[in-house]
């Protein structure tokens, strides 16, 4: 069963009020915009925040509580290291679980990557070798996370700058296999697909076409940069510090054709611009979603701009 496990399935018993993330554009909320969002309540359909930024108490958590009262919120983790051969850190897992319990997010996501080994956090989303062993490790860790959180999560494809010699499975097949084995959904970062495809000579459109559409529950869009060395060699770097590139918007249109309108996040983490800039990017994503119809075979009830699907509506 590759359940449509993203926004729609299995509302946790005892937590019926959890607001689902609508099939509209959302914005990655960073501290720089906390105040303006809290004070002006801009017309944004939903926000996504980094789980790791809310693991303490004090002002950040209070501010998120206030925003959460008015908007659906998605929690996006960057540090659980789902690909660690040594398994998940019990301490970090407990911190993630506490934030999830507090925020009651519409979606919870993490990455197809690793960042911890030997109790050292390496502060980046490091690529996994695409092997059967890594697939088993990732699936086991995703299982554990979903068991602890009592909900399905989404796994995001990272941008990558290297490939291992002994990899045997294409990344898109690896993602599909994790979703099939664990029932997790896929967070398709279209910018990351573009960056990795460009860096490794993959076909970005074929990547999207190979993903199991029913499992894709969210899309990320962000800016990247092209780094060119003096000798003319170049590599694309996913630095979230600029507008979404035109080529990525084009790939997004292809993704929407395939996946239908699904929650789409605008991410911007470096040189964070005025909120209006993010609102304009979000409006562009919303316009792209409006220009296509609802996806075939997908039950969809819209109320107050919220996407609410009956449990199991899309499990095939």
């Amino acid at each position: 069963m590759t359940g449509r496990s993203a926004a729609g399935t299995d509302p946790v018993a005892g937590d019926p009020e959890r607001e689902l993330i609508p099939a509209r554009a959302g914005i990655g909320l960073r501290f720089a915009h906390h105040r303006i969002v809290a004070e002006t309540r801009p017309p944004v359909a939903w926000f996504e925040v980094h789980t790791e930024n809310y693991m303490g108490g004090g002002a950040p958590l209070r501010c998120l509580d206030a925003i959460r009262a008015d908007y659906p919120v998605s929690l996006h983790g960057v540090g659980l290291s789902l690909g660690s051969a040594e398994g998940l850190s019990a301490e970090h897992l407990a911190r993630v679980a506490r934030v999830v319990e507090r925020v009651e997010p519409g979606l919870v996501s993490e990455h197809l990557s690793w960042s911890v080994t030997g109790s050292v956090y390496l502060a980046d989303l490091l690529p996994l070798p695409m092997t059967e062993e890594a697939l088993a490790v990732l699936s086991r860790n995703v299982d554990q996370l979903q068991t602890v959180l009592r909900r399905p999560i989404l796994i995001e494809n990272p941008s990558s700058y290297l490939q291992y010699r002994h990899s045997t499975i294409p990344e898109w097949e690896f993602l599909a296999a994790v979703a099939a084995r664990t029932g997790c959904g896929i967070l398709c970062d279209v910018n990351n697909v573009y960056v990795s495809a460009s860096n490794h000579g993959w076909d970005a459109a074929a990547y999207l076409a190979a993903l199991p559409a029913a499992a894709v529950g969210e899309i990320h869009l962000a800016g990247h940069s092209l780094r060119t060395l003096a000798d003319g060699r170049s590599i694309r770097i996913d630095d979230h510090g600029s507008p979404v590139a035109d080529a990525v918007w084009a790939l997004y249109a292809a993704a929407l054709e395939r996946f239908g309108p699904i929650p789409t996040l605008i991410e911007w983490d470096n040189d964070i611009p005025a909120l209006e800039t993010l609102l304009r990017e979000a409006a562009r994503a919303d316009a792209a979603m409006s220009s296509i119809g609802p996806p075939p075979g997908r039950t969809k009830t819209l109320e107050h701009g919220q996407r609410r699907e009956p449990a199991h509506a899309d499990t095939a």
Binding site: A123, L126, H200
Partner: protein, 263 residues
């Protein structure tokens, strides 16, 4: 073919600036060398962690300048990398590292400024807790009140520093060059209380006796014993102030060890 664990250990060693060769052997070239590819990740690692330290130690950063700070941070990151992605906690030990960092030896007060900033950052991100109300304590029978042991708020910290780091820290972060010029950074101990407030984090100077009394309460000394000591101040007044400011969140009344138990 390496196991996943072997690969992750090798990549970690490479990214931490130790053995680059083992990781490089597992990485495809394809236009860039394995070393060039791995260095993209190493640069991110150093950038993210240096930035995290800079956010936690803004006054240290301004005192030494960005270039010096980046060098010190990189050396610290290589010695003491974080254990988790909860980076608000990162930086434990940076003050001691600076104390033993030869290029910083000309600023003897720098480690104390770092100790204060560590405490401030810790207070900023400490867990929330509901303060103890005075009424809760008065429910304890009068005969037992001397045995009360208080639990401090998670954000509360007490620092005894050799240099007036609070004055330096304030002057540096105010950006007021005149204020900084007026600070006398010579060795003179200060007793500080650090706590989160509605507005941010408060750093308060105390007398040595007030600090000792508060330190005893924080350390679990029963109320009666702490109040008996006193000093150049009225301990019950200071205690009331602590409670009013929400510096303690709960209490226990341990059995008197002098009374034998027959349970």
């Amino acid at each position: 073919m390496p196991t996943l664990l072997e690969l992750q250990r090798a990549v970690a060693a490479g990214l931490r600036g130790r053995d680059q060769e083992a990781a490089a052997a597992f990485v495809r070239g394809d236009g860039f060398t394995p070393g060039e590819r791995l260095s993209i990740y190493r640069n991110t690692l150093l950038g993210v962690l240096t930035n995290a330290l800079g956010l936690a130690y803004p006054a240290v950063r301004r005192l030494v300048g960005d270039a010096f700070f980046d060098v010190a941070a990189q050396a610290f990151i290589e010695q003491r990398p974080p254990a988790s992605a909860y980076l608000n906690e990162y930086g434990q030990g940076f003050a001691d590292f600076l104390a033993g960092f030869p290029p910083a030896a000309s600023l003897p007060y720098l480690p104390d400024v770092a100790r204060l900033e560590r405490s401030v950052n810790r207070a900023l991100h400490a867990s929330d807790a509901v303060p103890l109300a005075l009424a809760d304590l008065s429910e304890v029978a009068a005969a037992l009140q001397a045995r009360i042991v208080l639990t401090p708020h998670p954000s509360l910290d007490l620092l005894r520093l050799d240099y007036p780091a609070d004055a330096i820290w304030r002057a540096v972060l105010s950006g007021d060059e005149d204020a900084l010029a007026r600070v006398d950074p010579s060795r003179e101990p200060v007793w500080l209380m650090v706590e989160r407030s509605e507005q941010g984090v408060d750093v308060t100077r105390m007398t040595a006796a007030e600090w000792d009394f508060t330190e005893q309460l924080v350390g679990g000394t029963p109320l009666g014993e702490a109040l008996d000591r006193g000093g150049d101040f009225e301990p019950s007044v200071l205690l009331a102030g602590h409670l009013l400011r929400g510096r303690f969140v709960s209490f226990t009344v341990p059995a008197d060890p002098r009374i034998p138990s027959f349970s």
